[in-house]
Symmetry: none
Subunit: 196 residues, 4 copies
Amino acid sequence: MSATPPNPQRRSERSRQAILAAAIELCTEKGYVGVTVEAIAARAGVSKKTIYRWWPSKGFVLLEALAQRTDSHAPFPDTGHLAADLYAQMTGVVRLLTTPPFGPAYIGILSELHHDPELTAAVHEQFITPRFTAAVNRLKSAQRQGRLSADADLELAVELLYGPLYYRYALRKPAHTAERMAELVDHVLRTLDCRP
Amino acid sequence: MSATPPNPQRRSERSRQAILAAAIELCTEKGYVGVTVEAIAARAGVSKKTIYRWWPSKGFVLLEALAQRTDSHAPFPDTGHLAADLYAQMTGVVRLLTTPPFGPAYIGILSELHHDPELTAAVHEQFITPRFTAAVNRLKSAQRQGRLSADADLELAVELLYGPLYYRYALRKPAHTAERMAELVDHVLRTLDCRP
Amino acid sequence: MSATPPNPQRRSERSRQAILAAAIELCTEKGYVGVTVEAIAARAGVSKKTIYRWWPSKGFVLLEALAQRTDSHAPFPDTGHLAADLYAQMTGVVRLLTTPPFGPAYIGILSELHHDPELTAAVHEQFITPRFTAAVNRLKSAQRQGRLSADADLELAVELLYGPLYYRYALRKPAHTAERMAELVDHVLRTLDCRP
Amino acid sequence: MSATPPNPQRRSERSRQAILAAAIELCTEKGYVGVTVEAIAARAGVSKKTIYRWWPSKGFVLLEALAQRTDSHAPFPDTGHLAADLYAQMTGVVRLLTTPPFGPAYIGILSELHHDPELTAAVHEQFITPRFTAAVNRLKSAQRQGRLSADADLELAVELLYGPLYYRYALRKPAHTAERMAELVDHVLRTLDCRP
DNA sequence: TCGTAATCGAGACGGTACGTCGAGTCTTAGG
DNA sequence: CCTAAGACTCGACGTACCGTCTCGATTACGA
């Protein structure tokens, strides 16, 4: 009578991979709105039930596909040159938001957040919080080395860095150019830097 | 044989108002996903065709409803105290994003931008560009008065101010508290201020 | 909020005919189990919604198709020769049960009766009761003419005539041959006949 | 490579009984349509595979359950009073068709016959033919005793007796009352009786 | 007595059809 | 011509069972 949760041990890895691949492909070809559970099932040669058994909605499928294909993601760079590191990292974020096949997928997922709290939680846990923390940590390490003023508000700094990126994303303004992003990094760092 | 465009002169103002009201009500009661053309038509006592004749999609309906109900919006404040003016303005933006009934509507519209370029254009024209320009102008006026360094990058400044707001919105992090927003304004202004 | 019933005046006769035709065709080609709402919709070039709007289930669709295609059905024959008339009529029933395309449809409908009281009511009203009554009336008319004993139980007689037919149908025994059916009629009539 | 047939010696009697019991229970509680292989398996604490290994379909499961629970069924009664014997037997048939838990099960099985020839064969072998033959034999024995005319068509007689019962069953008319059934028996016997 | 091979429970799998919902188009009648 | 009403096609939703198919774990048989 109770809906017993599925047993992950019995899960077919084959189907899982086919589903993730199909989801990404569809998103590439037809955009996020073209990704439907039905289409994923058809392309992956899989039953809809199998999808619903393991994921609550297509957003989660794409999220997992995205995570799998980007989890070899380099940790926050730490070359010693803070500005360059931040720049590199932020460039990565913009690239993720703007280049196929991950751009459309990530954007679609983000737009789903506004009516799906559970997906929001998952995205935060897997994507956003780690990156935010990594950025803060990178700044902290610079601060420990005395390259940033001791009382700098590092979380605010990170928001100032990422903020304009997402501002443009959210309103669908064109993304920052490389130079513009460099200026942004410089500008924010200048605020924090105790020593030039 | 050609689809003659509708004649705005013969348009029923009664229906128009009923539709806009129904859209806002539905958005308040059931959230953006609960707003469907079907539901609007039913509640407004209006034919679906009438809606489709005058608006391309539900996003435009809500946009118009929103515009109508907020176009008494005050222009960018200019009390002489720059920080206070910016703070007031940004508070308004956050309030728009977070308080019913306009919050859900505006958020829903924004999430639609990612798959509707025409809606994007309309939103930019009616909402975003005017406010962005107003903010830049307010800074320009301060600059002219010599209160900001002459070579300050004002557009970047506005992005730094609004950015964190939309960063949190886009990722559904909780909005900034009043204090936090004040700190944000202060921090950014400090970067630009030639004179303390 | 209330589910308003559809307006029959607005109904598309075109769709209705296409649906009935498709149902009969499918039943002919693939048997009753091959008739699905989905298949009917596909073949008729019609939306599933349209089917569900006008019929509660596929049984009703087939019933209507059947009724439409047999309602030119001759009334109970009355040639003056009672045995021949009964024989003719019963032959018709057997033919209805055994020859495509109506046989499979009728049989399928009948098998549905066992879990659908509303379909049962409809079938009784449209098919069974009229025929039963007609048969009783034919016997009554013979009785009035003094050809059947005045106290004969005519309803029982009709059950004795139709009974064996449905006995074989229900248990899927092969239907009666023509001779066998003639013997059946003779046998029953002999019981009732006051005058040889 | 070939599918080796299961070995009945190693069959789990425990599972078999649980399955049959579950099938009957489900049929009692939710009617024939509520009996699904899935539900049987769940209730019996048994794997679906186990069911499919031993039975071709749910119809066969119910048939076996029915047979097991009614095979203590008395043989055709032979008290010397023919009418009473026939009446008793036919009452039994009606009771089987109308009283839970066997009524719904039997009716469900019968309705399955129309699209399952193998089930038809099984039902005939286990249920129908034996009873039909028994009835004919009972009449033959009466005939041998000179109580029925020597040239009476006994098979037709049995069809006349059972026919009306199944006529009402097939069309879901209410079953005969006890008196009506008595009249039916008398009427048919009168046709056959050489001696009053 | 002990492998060993089949059956067992559990339940995931690819399918098919279900009945519902909303989108956007089209038709009809009335003003 | 606009409107209300709403029927239409289309496509996707999420669910229910089907019958097939692995899995280990259990169990009874024959070596």
